[in-house]
Amino acid sequence: MKLESLEGQRAALDASEVSSVELVESALVRAEGAGADLGAIVGLRAEAALAAAAGSDARRRAEELRSPLEGAPVVLKDNMVQKGEPTTCASRILESFVSPYDGAMAERLEAAGAIILGRANMDEFAMGSTTENSTFGPARNPWDTSRTTGGSSGGSAVAVSAGITGFSLGSDTGGSIRQPASFCGVVGMKPTYGRVSRWGLVAFASSLDQIGPFTHSAREAAWVLEAIAGHDPRDSTSLPEPAPALESALTGDVKGLRIGLPREYFVDQGAEPGVVEAVRGAVSELESAGAKVVEVALPHTPYVVSTYYLVATAEASSNLARFDGVRYGRRAENVKDLDEMYRRSRSEGFGREVKRRILLGTYVLSAGYFDAYYRKAQQVRTLVRGDFDRAFEACDVIVGPTYPEVAFPIGARMDDPVSLYLGDIYTVSANLAGLPGISVPCGQHQGMPVGMQILGRPLDEATLLRVADAFQRRTDHHEHRPPGSP
């Protein structure tokens, strides 16, 4: 087991073959090299990370380990705040923001002994599926640097894929963890809505946003989720349940488990044939391990992308109203009155995709359109949830491709928002229905990684991770590394 994975780092730390300070030192070198070349890392806190690592090494000597994450470096998507550190959301409007408080993720990771190394690139305000909508410039896929990383948590995916850190955190509103995980050949998990506190996560669409981990293995994802999940009274949508015990669920046994394959996910003119082939191969592997395959129906699948973009942009237009140049963020200069200050600060500060989504959200919430668009979308959301409730009567998990294709070239989709949005067809449902989902590397197509998505019942992360882990015990897709890996 090598030092680029969390499990490898943990083993080496436990065997005293390496110290946390040494891990952080080499992660910093890697972040400044490959991390910068790939546009993955947008800010480092070297001194603070080294000091924290020395503290972790001291705890280890005193045999006071806090969690399996003890001493391991991590990067946060640049929309999660940490006291005294910048948080930009890859936007000009927040380019000089320094957080006055610790978000829940900074607190939980530190309480778990992990070492926060810095911040990862993203689409501005998490709006995008390519990490091209960033004031820092695009992130690049380690498997082929001419291709996108996916997004919006592209930098977090690259951090793990390129061996900068063993794990990272992203946020997923419509696939923003799972899709870049699929593109970059790593594991990415969106927990059940409300599992992980959103305190200190800059809001995009509050009823859909959820934080989750990137790792190489399902086992590592279980460790991270155990550390970051659990009730937080500061987030009013935080679930009351305590953090679940997950590692103990990883038995490797899937005998009798029912895998649902939605017929709408395997239609002609759906995903690319190479992607479907890889996913079908993975399903066969699980079948040979004793799982049973059943066909299920998700009849509202053709409507999920429309529903998602109405709900998400409506919520975003409301959430982003707070960026007005008054209390924080960019303020336009030489303005004659308050109204001009609002308009110019926002117009100069937000990028094109963010403006487009604010406009769409404002439009669908405006008088005369609310019922036709927003209320309609909320009703269809009910139907989508009903599809999953019925499907889960016949199966324990639902499996399909994470994304219809592999990573495409940077710049290829910049002028065609609708076709880019339609790619989110397999991922947005989990956010609309609040379900947990995970993307697991399951093969390659055109030399690029393919992700298999596994969806589960609300709160049933344990089964998702059990299936993902059982798959990884029998296969080695998650051990493949891109060119230039350490």
């Binding site: 509202h300 529903t307 973009y309 008054v326 303020r331 004659k336 403006k355 439009y363």
Partner: protein, 106 residues
């Protein structure tokens, strides 16, 4: 994959009015481009009208949660110095903005 009957219903005037509501100032080129792009998106989402949703309750949150209650006890908030630390303009613990009310009011 777009509906073939696609015909952009959103007009330049709609985009200008919406931008005004959202406190965004758009250039002529931006208005042109946004009218086209929002038109494409709205044409696509039009597909939802084909679904019968009569009597279907809207879902605002996928996981229903009771509004949590907490004891009504005072607890420390953020330090006022920190609260204004990111302000583009401040005076003591106040945020400074351009004058809102005209002189004759005072």
């Amino acid at each position: 994959m777009l509906a073939l009957c696609a015909m952009s219903r959103i007009t330049r005037e709609d985009v200008e009015r919406t931008a005004d509501l959202a406190r965004l100032s758009l250039s002529k080129d931006e208005i042109e481009a946004m009218t086209h792009e929002l038109g494409q998106i709205l044409d696509h989402v039009e597909q939802l009208q084909a679904l019968d949703t009569e009597g279907i309750e809207p879902t605002a949150h996928a996981i229903p949660l009771a509004t949590p209650l907490r004891p009504d006890r005072a607890s420390p908030g953020i330090d006022p110095d920190l609260a204004v630390a990111n302000a583009p303009a401040s005076d003591g613990h106040a945020f400074v903005v351009p004058k809102v009310i005209d002189g004759e009011e005072g």
